[in-house]
Symmetry: C2
DNA sequence: GGGTTTTACTAAATCGCTATAGTTGCACCC
DNA sequence: GGGTGCAACTATAGCGATTTAGTAAAACCC
């Protein structure tokens, strides 16, 4: 009803007494207008709160000015993990300076994720994407390559042939820092309550745990879907045995908290009778009682680095040099101790 | 380098042996093409994985196909609250069907939030926005009104003059359900560790607590910035007194968990010596020991409802009827009991 | 069978901006 | 003083869709 006519570049040009082209030059800081005229134009633009339409800009060859992030987690487990919000916050911090927006979408399978990338690309809706949870033989990578859609993967190791640009954290080393610590404390029977087996980091951590066999440490892996319910079930199973493990490591902090509760319910004292640790940290992990020994990584910084790297990839897609992220650190808290 | 030419409507038209206009008709299901031709066009489009460029579409009068969500929280507290991710997940669920995208941005002040709305509007980047944490005399509302930018507010009470469309939860009733319960248990001295005072729900909860004075309940409010550190400080202060409150209510679950830890450190047993509760629930609140009595609301459903309502507002901005969200429920857990 | 309507299209204008190819006017220069 | 160069613009052609006006052929109608 109230059809307020939108202010356009033509209006600004008319008000400034120049052509639309001149306004464009002034706005984008390129030669073709005198410094005096540029200032006048920019002042008028500001007065009328005019900004160029992003659609028109995108249409005229420039990119969409948007990066995409498709998250493949169920709504329930999403909220539980502080990882995502920290990551998003970090991404935002890097994008804000560049006037780039982030589009986020939740998907429920890797196929849907791939379809989303195709759609985004076809509709020219995003200039690049951030990809998490790389897998062995990941079906997303060939697609991203075919689409020539710039991407940055947050991954476990250096990228191979046909692999998109990657920021990698050495997950093998990360796994060592936690498992070795438990081994050094004297634990000889360690259980690892992991995420889905197809994730690379799950495989790497599993391998590291198995490798500890040489030192007389027996390891066991239980795969879950990251849900606290699955963690509880796993924990109950482990503690019902005749020979309990002396330490249980969880893939994330919410699962660890769920495990802690089961231990308490079953009268198992942490850390006296059992050590508990997590591969993922959060504010809450340090707040519960006992507080949980965790691998702490700078997720915010990681998100910022990923976003910056992606912007570089968008500008120059051919310079494909991987990056190494800041090494996660072991944060020892109350939940781990020397076994009885 | 690999300048793959993008597939356009003209390419599809040529392949189908029709004009671009005909392709547009076929795509958007409007009359002007025979059923037979429509099918042929759509098949060819699918074969070549063509989707109309969203930029071009937006330029041609249609909306941007994007809704915006500016979140005014610091990066740290954002990750702590499951509220946001649940809300976002709900929003997504409602948008996915309509092929609408969501843009999210983190801002650090209400001024920046307002500037973001102005920018989004000027650049024609979003079709509408979701607004949270309404305040008394909220500076965002007149701006949204002037911009005629469709908005849906998640609020505490029915909207007044010049107020955007609102989905409201009766925060007064919510506050009653928790405070009355504590009163009924026998608590006569209740502390409320709240968020920033300018939020409407903070004021309403405070008023309800004060209203309990008639029934002999003395209440006290401590304002914080939602951070766990502030909650710890507040809790330490409360428990150091000669006359401790018998119940402490926190504005969200992370603060409650922080408070719980302080109680444990100071040798105060929950719920024997002290009851603890929270106005916000999450998976973790039910997992810690003792599990925390909370107000549980269907945040996912709220997000979905907000998104749907916003889409309606965008279609028909003049039909301004408020909506009432599903009533939050009290979830009694282990952290509350009859006082000594 | 001539006139009207309907169907199924095409041609062309349009959205708001960017980019490229002019077009001035003025200084410079031997 | 005529050619060259440069600065500061303007004019115009896209970008890729939508949309309106126009048109040719088929269908309908008494």
């Amino acid at each position: 009803m109230n059809k307020t006519k939108r202010v356009t570049i033509t209006d600004i040009a008319r008000l400034a007494g120049v052509s639309p082209g001149a306004v464009s030059f002034a706005l984008n800081g390129r030669p073709g207008v005198s410094e005096q005229t540029r200032k006048r134009i920019l002042t008028i633009a500001e007065e009328h709160q005019w900004l160029p339409s992003s659609a028109a800009r995108a249409l005229g060859g420039a990119g969409a000015g948007v990066i995409g992030f498709a998250v493949n987690r169920s709504a329930g487990t999403l909220g539980a993990e502080a990882f995502f919000t920290d990551l998003i916050a970090g991404v935002q911090s890097a994008l804000a300076e560049n006037r780039i927006a982030m589009q986020m979408v939740l998907v429920s399978s890797i196929e849907e994720e791939v379809a989303t990338y195709r759609r985004w690309h076809s509709a020219n809706q995003v200039d690049g994407v951030i990809v998490i949870d790389p897998r062995d033989e990941d079906p997303r990578f060939p697609v991203l390559r075919d689409l020539t859609l710039p991407a940055v993967v947050l991954g476990s190791h250096a990228s191979g042939e046909g692999h998109p640009a990657t920021i990698w954290l050495d997950d093998r080393q990360v796994a060592h820092s936690l498992f070795d610590y438990l081994g050094a404390l004297g634990h000889r029977s360690i259980a690892y309550v992991a995420g889905p087996a197809e994730f690379q980091h799950t495989r790497l951590r599993t391998e590291v745990l198995a490798g500890l066999g040489e030192r007389g440490v027996s390891g066991e892996v239980i795969a879950t879907d990251f849900s606290p319910a699955a963690a509880s079930t796993a924990m109950r199973g482990l503690l019902s045995r005749l020979h309990r493990p002396t330490a249980v490591v969880f893939d994330n902090d919410v699962m660890a908290i769920a495990g802690l509760r089961v231990a308490q319910e079953m009268g198992v004292s942490v850390p006296k009778d059992l050590s508990v640790a997590s591969f993922d940290d959060s504010v809450v992990a340090g707040l519960v009682h006992p507080s949980i020994t965790c691998i702490t990584r700078d997720t915010f910084g990681l998100g910022a680095a990923a976003a910056k790297f992606l912007l570089e990839q968008i500008d120059a897609p051919d310079v494909l040099a991987d990056r190494i992220g800041a090494m996660p650190q072991l944060t020892v808290r109350e939940s781990t101790a020397v076994p009885r």
